[in-house]
Amino acid sequence: MAELVELREAVAGLVSDGDTVALEGFTHLIPSAAAHEIIRQEKKDLTLIRMTPDLIYDQMIGTGCARKLIFSWGGNPGVGSLHRFRDAVENGWPRRLELEEHSHAGMANRYVAGASNLPFAVLRGYVGTDLPKVTSTIVPITCPFTGEELVAVPALNPDVAVIHAQQADRRGNVAVWGISGIQKEAALSAQRVIVTVEEVVEEFEPRPFQIVLPAVVVDAIAVEPGGSRPSYADGYYDRDNAFYEAWDGISRDRERFGEWMERHVLGTRDFAEYTRSIEREESLR
């Protein structure tokens, strides 16, 4: 049952070293504040799951939180490479990163199976590609009615799912509107669920394409205004495209990355202080 807590407590209490953790948010509502708190608390040996690992995963990988990555597309959207992700895969820095690689369709269906308490999902895909050669969790399955051969992928059931939403109400229900991506399935597939929100409201208003996660499926709710920056929150703030472009330079070099993380993330108390810290730096530019 959803409890309103500090993000620090939520991460300390619900995320342990070695856990399998999914932070989802499909371009929209990326849980940046929660990712930074995981880095601040120096969580280790995490198996990180995410369809589209981007800046926050580059940061968690670059600071050594991750042992393994389960994903389908790892890049800086519209900009280019994730340099920390590449450095880990190409050079094993700061540590070797094990990969379990799927397509978006496969990952989405793995979450659906997890949310449905099924051990696997079925789809049309992968055959003819090299993905089954490098990913052991893609196997053929035959339709018992038509004899047609399809592909099965195993369910994803993370220990912890983390998402960012626009609002929670007083009873602990969570509202997401606009692009909701895979967040519902990620949350429902996990053992424990942490949600950061822009604000807590008395009641939800009808919004375009709004979904509501009932309080019973959420463990912890933390209020983190701006908590998905540089991603965006429909109705609250826009995507900070300039930051995504700036990240290319910050992350290219190990040392510069390390200093940046030290100064802005590890050296700050929380996401509010982090935000002030990078705003100060930007104003100096």
């Binding site: 959207p77 690689e101 049309r124 055959v127 003819g128 090299d130 692009i179 965006y232 429909d234 995507r239």
Partner: protein, 261 residues
């Protein structure tokens, strides 16, 4: 040609315009980010106002007024006919065979239109780790037709792919059909030099048109395999005044909005 000759345009603009012409009005189009998004939005702003643009983030009938930097920008949801979950986009729309055409980019492509977006070099110790599959394998599998947009260079048009991320015509001939996919595979490849189409029999990509000013020699040098060229080569119609103006406005608006952000 006279007014066309009078016009200045880049090879990238020619490529985008040529690609945009491949999207028919009313078609349901699954859009990859980057060049595909640019081409399909140009089409929507010109000859295909009723096309239904689908982005993997879950937006159906997206009508962005600027080019999205990511496949999930707010502008995609804002004017969309519907916004659904990611599982629905892949299961209820793409896999269901509702997508008429998929527009894809690539890092590497071979002569059969197979695509690599995973690694350069060996998978276990890659020279360059690329982003990976994303939605491409299923777009290449299930979209009725596939349009590939890719600058023609020896390092992108390769004899052999380091990794097959998305299947085109596989080993050529009927070999794709054995996979049981709903889609026909790549029907056209648009480059900065011209147009390639699969041979009806062998399915090998063959140069069937050149953009104005491009030569067969250029195209062959830019291709990492022994490029086949059609008997009579067509010449692409250059961008019209209207196409160029609208494309440049779109890009200017986009640049402007990103500065603001």
């Amino acid at each position: 040609m006279t007014d066309a000759a009078a016009r200045e345009y880049t090879t990238d603009e020619m490529m985008t315009v040529a690609a945009s012409r491949e999207l028919q009005d009313g078609a349901v189009c699954f859009v990859g980010i980057g060049l595909p998004s640019e081409a399909t939005n140009l089409a929507r702003a010109t000859h295909a106002p009723n096309c239904v643009l689908i982005y993997e983030s879950g937006t159906v009938g997206a009508k962005p007024d600027v080019l999205p930097l990511s496949i999930g920008d707010g502008v995609l949801a804002e004017y969309a006919d519907s916004v659904v979950s990611v599982p629905e986009i892949f299961n209820y729309w793409l896999q269901a065979g509702r997508v008429d055409v998929g527009f894809l980019g690539a890092a590497q492509m071979d002569r059969y239109g197979n695509i690599n977006t995973t690694v350069i070099g060996p998978y276990e110790s890659p020279k360059v780790r690329l982003p990976g599959a994303g939605g491409a394998p299923e777009i290449a599998a299930s979209a009725r037709d596939v349009v590939i947009i890719l600058r023609q260079k020896p390092r992108s048009f390769v004899e052999e792919l380091a990794f097959v991320t998305s299947v085109g015509h596989r080993h050529g001939g009927d070999s794709r059909n054995e996979l049981g996919y709903g889609g026909a595979g790549p029907t056209i490849v648009i480059t900065d030099l011209g147009v390639l189409r699969p041979d009806p029999e062998t399915r090998e990509l063959t140069m069937t048109a050149l953009h104005p000013g491009a030569t067969v020699e250029e195209a062959k040098e830019a291709t990492g395999w022994e490029l086949k060229v059609a008997g009579e080569l067509e010449t692409t119609d250059p961008p019209t005044e209207g196409e160029l103006t609208i494309l440049r406005d779109l890009k200017a608006r986009t640049a402007e909005s990103r500065k603001r952000a």
